[in-house]
């Protein structure tokens, strides 16, 4: 009997139900009473906060019980078909509890922030409805006890992402961005589906517990089947967590409101891929080739996105590419087998990236208001219009510096420990397999660049002379407490978050042990010497500091001019600004041929040509023809009728002859 039965864990379904109820109520209000902002705020924030309370209760129960096996709460039987039996069930174990806390906690803060940020928006109720729905689906994703249930959450968050990115859908660009996100995600989801098919065909089950129980016998470690499964699962992750080559939707997703970017595209949805790999860590451990692919793609993405972030002018775009890069780090973590490290970085990243986005949101909010007052139509998100804002928004600036130091990997902030653990694991694996040394090298390079571009962001936004304009400057002020408050909370978490998994104490690692133990049997044992560890730690910290220092040395915020007067970029800088023209590449080589094919071959050729002409019109013509023949039979000529009569009689007699 699982020790968790009968405790608060039985109520884990409430955590999903409360935000979903919030969605229903807010959705109704969006239609009936869109102006009831206070009610919407209370329900929107309250439902998620209540879910957080439930999450804490569940966590305490799990902590007290120390279960070895996951606790599955079956709600009802969903798909009982032949050999396949999938139930709507929720699984509570150490990993899902971590995700549960992160999702509900960070969501609550961001919901609170949104109250201030979206205050003047007419779609206020609709926004909170969507946001609540998102939380509900995300929780289904992390609490699902089987692949299909998780997939429901997976698709659901994709849907909410689409709805929220295209929140201001009246502007075509924003609506297109939402569509792009959804479609690119879909490509990855095909991989997820194929992986599910393969799992079912090889193991006969889609339930997590069952799958991991049968996998060691049902699949050969290192064999083709398990590698295929892992690779297809990773394909889903590539889509959802914006890795190469399906990352292109994330920068465009910045078209949505900034709290959305903070919640969905930094802290929660995009981390679903990492969660998936951590959840199925047994399968990845059994497929070293796939794990290597995961680590490789993660490392490449980390470096690639970091380079693009160096030259972006839109504050949110910098953060978007930073997210892509940091997600790459997480995948490096789970790719080298350090699953706890990957999850650790997921948690710390949630804290400081949410903080960064919310801070940027505050900045944009203030800039927007200033522009609004002076009726100027400038880009409130372009850093060239900012500068020296630390004087006007001191708290925001301080909190964002905390986050910047964390992301750069400066001890003793949270980012340092998580990033260092990942790189340490990569280096340790690299001792026996040189491939992972390259991964480590990429990681180090990306760390350096991360520090650099984050410092760049801070310099251009908060320091140096103010470029906003004389008319707007009087209106620059600190954002309201409802927006700054969550920043402070997140900053505190960022500072203290390192305690989750300090080296040698390794709280999180031990916490997640029941889940990673099975896979550990398939991984090479890592035992780096303490000396190497310390060297690496020091090196990582130095790299971070070096990046920050170099930025302050090289970059001169005084030389910036507002975008209208800015000179054209040239050479490599231009390539980075244009994000290596990847979108244009996709458009030219994938989209255009596809559209051409659809229009010319499938539409004109097949649909109009074959199906319409032969099928639809053809069957009409056939009917008409047969009808014409039939009508000719009704000639009114008795003679003709007699002929048919005799013919019939002859046939009947012939039958009698037999």
């Amino acid at each position: 009997m699982n020790p968790l039965a009968g405790t608060a864990v039985d109520w884990v379904g409430l955590a999903i139900l409360l935000p979903f109820a919030g969605f229903l109520v807010n959705g109704a209000l969006a239609f009936l009473r869109p102006k009831a902002k206070r009610t919407v705020s209370i329900i929107g924030v309250g439902s998620v906060a209540a879910a957080f309370v439930v999450a804490v209760a569940v966590y305490l129960a799990v902590r007290a019980a120390h279960p070895d096996a996951p606790y599955v709460r079956t709600l009802w039987s969903w798909i009982p078909v032949g050999d396949l039996s999938v139930s709507a069930a929720l699984q509570v174990d150490q990993l899902s509890v971590v995700m549960l806390l992160v999702v509900t906690g960070v969501s609550s803060l961001i919901h609170l922030f949104s109250v201030g940020y979206m205050h003047d928006d007419p779609g206020y109720a609709r926004y909170f409805a969507y946001l609540n729905l998102f939380v509900a689906f995300m929780l289904v994703l992390v609490l699902g006890a089987s692949f299909p249930v998780m997939f429901i959450g997976w698709e659901g968050v994709g849907l909410c992402s689409y709805l929220l990115i295209g929140f201001w859908f009246e502007e075509k660009e924003k609506a297109d961005a939402g569509l792009k996100a959804f479609l690119v995600n879909r490509i990855g989801d095909v991989g997820f589906l194929i992986a599910m098919f393969l799992i079912f065909s090889h193991l006969g089950t889609l339930d997590f517990r069952e799958t991991f129980a049968r996998a060691p016998q049902g699949l050969t470690a290192g064999g083709g089947a398990v590698t295929a499964i892992a690779l297809f699962l990773f394909m889903g992750c590539v889509g959802k967590s914006a890795q190469i080559p399906l990352y292109v939707w994330l920068p465009d997703a910045m078209a949505g409101p900034t709290p959305v970017s903070a919640l969905i595209h930094a802290a929660t949805m995009v981390t679903a891929g990492v969660y998936l790999v951590a959840r199925t860590n047994l399968l990845f451990a059994m497929a070293p080739v796939a794990s290597a692919v995961v680590a490789g793609v993660g490392a490449l993405t980390a470096l690639f996105a970091a380079t693009i972030g160096l030259k972006q002018w839109d504050i949110k775009k910098v953060l978007a590419y930073s997210t892509v890069s940091q997600l790459g780090y997480m995948f490096v973590g789970v790719g080298v087998g350090a699953y706890a490290a990957g999850i650790f970085h997921l948690v710390t990243h949630a804290f400081f990236k949410a903080l960064l986005f919310l801070g940027a949101g505050s900045v944009i909010h203030v800039m927007h208001r200033a522009h609004h007052q002076s009726h100027r139509h400038a880009d409130a998100q372009d850093m060239r219009n900012m500068g020296g804002l630390a004087a006007y928004m001191p708290w925001t600036a301080r909190m964002m510096w905390v986050a910047t130091l964390a992301i750069a990997g400066i001890p003793p902030l949270a980012g340092f420990f998580s990033k260092d653990e990942i790189l340490g694991a990569a280096f340790a694996r690299g001792a026996s397999q040189p491939f992972y040394l390259i991964v480590w090298l990429f990681g180090i390079a990306a760390a350096f660049l991360t520090a650099f571009y984050m410092a760049r962001l801070m310099l251009y936004t908060f320091h140096g002379p103010n470029r906003t304009g004389d008319l707007e400057r009087p209106h620059l002020a600190e954002a309201p407490w409802v927006m700054t408050g969550p920043l402070v909370v997140l900053a505190a978490l960022t500072i203290l978050g390192g305690a989750l998994n300090l080296p040698h104490v390794e709280t999180l690692h031990r916490w997640l042990e029941p889940l990673t133990a099975q896979g550990a049997a398939f991984l090479p044992a890592l035992a780096p010497s303490t000396g190497v560890e310390v060297t690496l730690m020091v090196a990582a910290a130095l790299i971070g500091i070096a990046g920050l220092w170099l930025a302050t040395r090289i970059l001169k915020p005084e030389t910036l001019v507002p975008p209208e007067r800015a000179p054209q970029e040239t050479g490599f800088a231009k390539l980075l600004l244009e994000k290596y023209r990847v979108d244009e590449l996709y458009d030219r080589f994938i989209l255009r041929p596809l559209v051409w094919f659809s229009r010319v071959v499938l539409w004109k050729g097949l649909d109009a040509g074959v199906i319409d002409t032969a099928g639809v019109n053809g069957s009409a013509a056939l009917a008409r023809g047969l009808g014409w023949i039939g009508s000719r039979l009704q000639s009114g000529q008795v003679g003709t009728y007699v002929v048919f009569f005799v013919l019939g009689a002859v046939v009947v007699l012939a039958a009698l002859l037999k």
Partner: protein
Amino acid sequence: MLLGPSLAVSAILFSLGVVGVLLRRNAIVIFMCIELMLNAVNLTFVALSQQIGLDGQVFVFFVMTVAAAEAAVGLAIVIALYRHRDTVNLQSINLLRG
């Protein structure tokens, strides 16, 4: 012992009647061919009554009666038709065209 040949004659007469119906356009001639067919059937009945029983002949009696009635009514129709259309050529009588 005359059964076989009688049935053969009956068959031939019946077929000749059918050919006549298929061949001619005049309503009255077609009618006569139908009478020919009826007679062929009568011959069959009479021939078989030798084998099976006298009921055959009784049946022929009835057939003749009905044939008479039918001829009377049919010819009345032909007359009525002639009055309207001034012809008994069946090709011109095609108002039931669909």
